[in-house]
């Protein structure tokens, strides 16, 4: 089928729906490979940061400072200013649209502490996270979907996007597989916004949904768009041991503490001011060090998250879901017992480079590709730099989803549809038919499993050159093997084996950009910690990586662009201490 819309939005999480809300008078299609309410925004737990000051004095500039410092100064500072200023109105907008925030005694939006968020430029923790129990993302997703129903947004549910169409350097649509029928369709559009989320399924221990396979990043990458700072990948300190399911940082915001095998609350040794509320990259590294020095639980590779001193009332009222996860998946009762945890793959700070209007920019000179937008985890604005603060992902979704939507309103008024390229579906059809006809005997599950083991082992909290080279060798082999993937299911209708095989191809591309970026960056910054280059090196590396896919398999070209700083001494890069 051929469809024509003003705007096509790919992804129905917070960013995609927020963008759709801005376009009430345009013809808009939202494509999602799941049902909208299954999107991974719904798994976010702890809150959305905004300097409302409902609980204590707070200012957006403090929030901006924390964001820049938390990101180890790889943050583009003008973007961080927009993020933190506009967070305030964006949170009010969510409330106006019906989001059931927890409330203070006087009826305002309640706020709580979160990692790396401080008062007065680092003096101590501040209550900045607006929340709805420990299901804030669920409530954002539900609220935005409800609003989309109210505004009669047109959804294409269970459509997997396979390709992005460009005509003379201008975006003009996407090609998608309708999972239910197996049919391939062209969506012709003036503007395309990718809001497809992250690629956490490249790792085995992950907080991410099965759907988080980096589709948007890989599709853009294949069409010549660079991926920015992919080596900056966040490992959240408190994943459920061996499972990876997230236990929100809100647990520590409410007073939870990390405990080692000797019964010590070890974070106070490393970060005397913020202790357990230090940024995630730091906490994850401290946990690894405890384990390496023999202070894991029973000498093993995990530590505890201790909530037992919080009492049943706080736990049941403010952290009900995560305590359920601990009960269900570990058989541990968090009210009376500490919970075994380990770092879990969580969030891509990198992604498709954009400017602050969510326009995709394709080179170090910030040249936009007309009509192409990206927002949310798939994008790199870059407000998270080398390490995202907790609660800033939901802010990112709503602020830049909204800005992207608003900019598209202007764009579609001023532009007509670019003509489609000849045979727009050719690439997608070839991709699908190659998988159907392959007799190579290779198993997608085996490739995925090998990839995940490799990423868990060598592209984790700590990296070094030898390990990354080994990971690259493994990846090269997996990319070759991928060409031989053979499916058992040859049917057209609801072929999830086909979907998984295509998603695996996306994951391999994301891993490729990640490992190349990590290997090249010879310094330690934020989430990227090189044991062979342990210091941050602002002289050589205060810059963003841009990874371009080469024309041949295994071929990647790296370029760089400077970090955008503003002229204010408070934001000048300095050593991170908490």
């Amino acid at each position: 089928m051929y469809y024509k819309f003003d705007v096509v939005i790919v992804g129905s999480g917070g960013a995609g729906l927020m963008a759709a809300m801005q376009l009430p008078n345009a013809s808009v299609a939202v494509l999602t490979k799941v049902y909208p309410t299954r999107s991974h925004t719904g798994a976010a737990q702890g809150g959305v940061a905004a300097a409302l000051g409902n609980q204590e004095e707070d200012h957006w500039k403090w929030h901006m400072y924390d964001t820049v410092k938390g990101g180890d100064y790889l943050v583009d500072q003008p973007a961080a200013e927009i993020l933190t200023r506009e967070a305030i109105d964006a949170v009010y907008e969510l409330e106006h649209r019906g989001l059931p925030f927890n409330r203070t005694a006087d009826g305002r939006i309640d706020q709580r502490r979160f990692g790396g968020h401080t008062r007065n430029f680092g003096e101590g923790p501040v209550r900045r996270s607006c929340y709805a129990a420990d299901r804030t993302g669920h409530m954002i997703l539900q609220t935005m979907y409800q609003q989309a129903i109210k505004n009669q947004v047109r959804f294409f549910n269970e459509y997997l996007v396979l390709d992005f169409l460009v005509s003379d350097g201008q975006a003009c649509g996407v090609v998608a597989l309708e999972i239910r029928t197996g049919e391939i369709h062209t969506f012709h559009a003036k503007a395309v916004l990718f809001a497809t989320g992250g690629y956490g399924r490249a790792w085995r221990i992950t907080s991410n949904a099965f759907a988080c396979t980096g589709d948007g990043m890989a599709i853009a990458y294949r069409r010549g768009v660079p991926l920015e700072d992919m080596e900056m990948y966040q490992f959240h300190p408190t994943g459920i041991y061996k499972v990876g399911v997230l236990l929100s940082e809100a647990a520590r915001g409410e007073g939870g503490r990390l405990l080692n095998g000797k019964g010590e609350y070890f974070m106070e040794r490393y970060m005397p001011t913020l202790k357990d509320l230090a940024p995630r990259d730091i906490v994850s590294r401290c946990m690894l060090q405890e384990v390496r020095e023999g202070r894991g639980i029973d000498g093993k590779d995990y530590v505890y998250l201790d909530l037992t001193h919080l009492g049943a009332k706080v736990i049941n009222e403010k952290l009900p879901d995560i305590t359920d996860f601990a009960r269900n998946y570990l058989g541990v009762e968090p009210i009376t017992e500490p919970v075994p945890i380990q770092p879990t793959a969580h969030y891509a700070m990198g992604g498709i480079p954009t400017d602050v209007e969510a326009r995709v920019v394709i080179d170090p000179q910030w040249t936009p590709m007309p009509g192409f937008y990206a927002a949310g985890e798939v994008a790199c604005v870059s407000v998270h730099g080398a390490n995202r603060l907790g609660t800033n992902s939901l802010v990112d979704l709503i602020v830049f989803g909204r800005r992207g939507g608003k900019h598209m309103v202007k764009f579609i008024a001023e532009n007509s549809h670019a003509p489609l390229p000849l045979e727009p579906e050719a690439y997608a059809r070839e991709m699908v038919s190659a998988l159907y006809s392959s007799t190579g005997g290779e198993s997608a599950a085996r490739i995925r499993s090998t990839l995940q083991n490799e990423m868990d082992t060598r592209v984790f909290v700590e990296r070094d050159e030898a390990g990354l080279r080994k990971a690259l060798d493994t990846l090269d082999g997996l990319q070759d093997a991928y060409k031989r993937v053979q499916m058992q299911d040859k049917g057209k209708k609801f072929n999830t084996e086909l979907v998984e095989a295509i998603e695996l191809g996306f994951l391999l591309d994301c891993a490729e950009a990640t490992i190349h970026g990590a290997l090249a960056r010879q310094e330690s910054r934020g989430a990227h910690y090189r044991t062979d280059y342990q210091k941050r090196d602002d002289e050589n590396w205060l810059k963003h990586t841009l990874a371009y896919k080469g024309t041949k398999t295994h071929d990647v070209r790296l370029d760089y662009k400077p970090v955008e700083l503003i002229d204010d001494p408070i934001f000048k890069p300095k050593e991170r201490k908490y």
Binding site: V34, G107, K150, D489, F494, T496
Partner: protein
């Protein structure tokens, strides 16, 4: 432990009618049933078809009938199902393929109850005020993940597929009792009709099925009382 999985299969491109298929897998007691389905799909039969996404009970993709009860496959552990487990698509929904059912009619019913905040006043400059007690009044319904487990477990739905069903009423409740909302009368008018709340026979299957622990039947009763007494403030 070794378990026998009995799975209801149906491929619309091959089969005239559904049939039972069996697989044996070795799993750890604390693995999820979803993990076992993945082992089958990835190592034994790539054609096995089911939905899944978050794998920890918050996205609502993998609701299915497990040993006769609607559950999320990612919330059920192997140790809780025993050595033999029977897995079927949820009843009350058209089957698309194997364990995948057509959720479109379910979402259409959800949309029918106007599941969004309705206000006639203009938005204030900051947040609307709402006391913690007012917020608590509708908390239960906000937990719903629209997995369909309640609706698919309801004999009244099985008997009358046009009925709006429990999940829609839960989501109507969430707004009817929200102090900020001004659309209660519209929703109660919809739910007071023939295919509204009155087809609920308080069977409680829905409450048993809900993976989020929502007291579904109780919420439905509250909506019934709101219609009878024209009161959206009281219990």
């Amino acid at each position: 432990m070794n378990i026998l999985m009995r799975i209801r299969r149906y491929n619309p491109e091959k089969d005239n009618k559904p049939y039972w298929d069996e697989f044996r897998v070795d799993m750890e007691p604390i693995d999820r049933l979803l993990d076992a389905l993945n082992v089958v799909k990835w190592t034994m039969d790539g054609t096995l078809t089911y939905r899944r996404s978050c794998a920890h009970g918050v996205c609502g993709s993998d609701a299915m009938r497990i040993n006769g009860r609607n559950r999320l496959a990612c919330k059920v552990l192997i140790r809780d199902v025993g050595s033999k487990v029977t897995i079927e698509p949820m009843l009350g929904f058209p089957v698309i393929k194997d364990l995948v059912v057509d959720m479109d009619p379910f979402f259409d019913k959800y949309k029918a109850v106007k599941p969004y905040l309705i206000t006639h006043d203009s938005d204030p400059g900051t947040e609307r005020l709402q006391s913690p007690a007012e917020r608590e009044r509708y908390d239960e319904g906000t937990k719903c993940i629209l997995c369909g487990a309640c609706t698919g477990s309801c004999p009244s739905v099985w008997g009358n597929p046009d009925w709006v069903g429990p999940a829609s009423i839960v989501n109507a409740h969430r707004f009817i009792f929200d102090s900020r909302d001004q659309g209660a009368a519209e929703r109660l008018a919809i739910l007071g009709q023939r295919d509204g709340v009155w087809r609920c026979r308080t069977i409680f299957n829905c409450a048993d099925a809900c993976p989020r622990g929502i007291h579904v039947t109780d919420l439905i009763e509250q909506v019934k009382r709101a219609i009878v007494y024209n009161d959206t403030k009281g219990e």
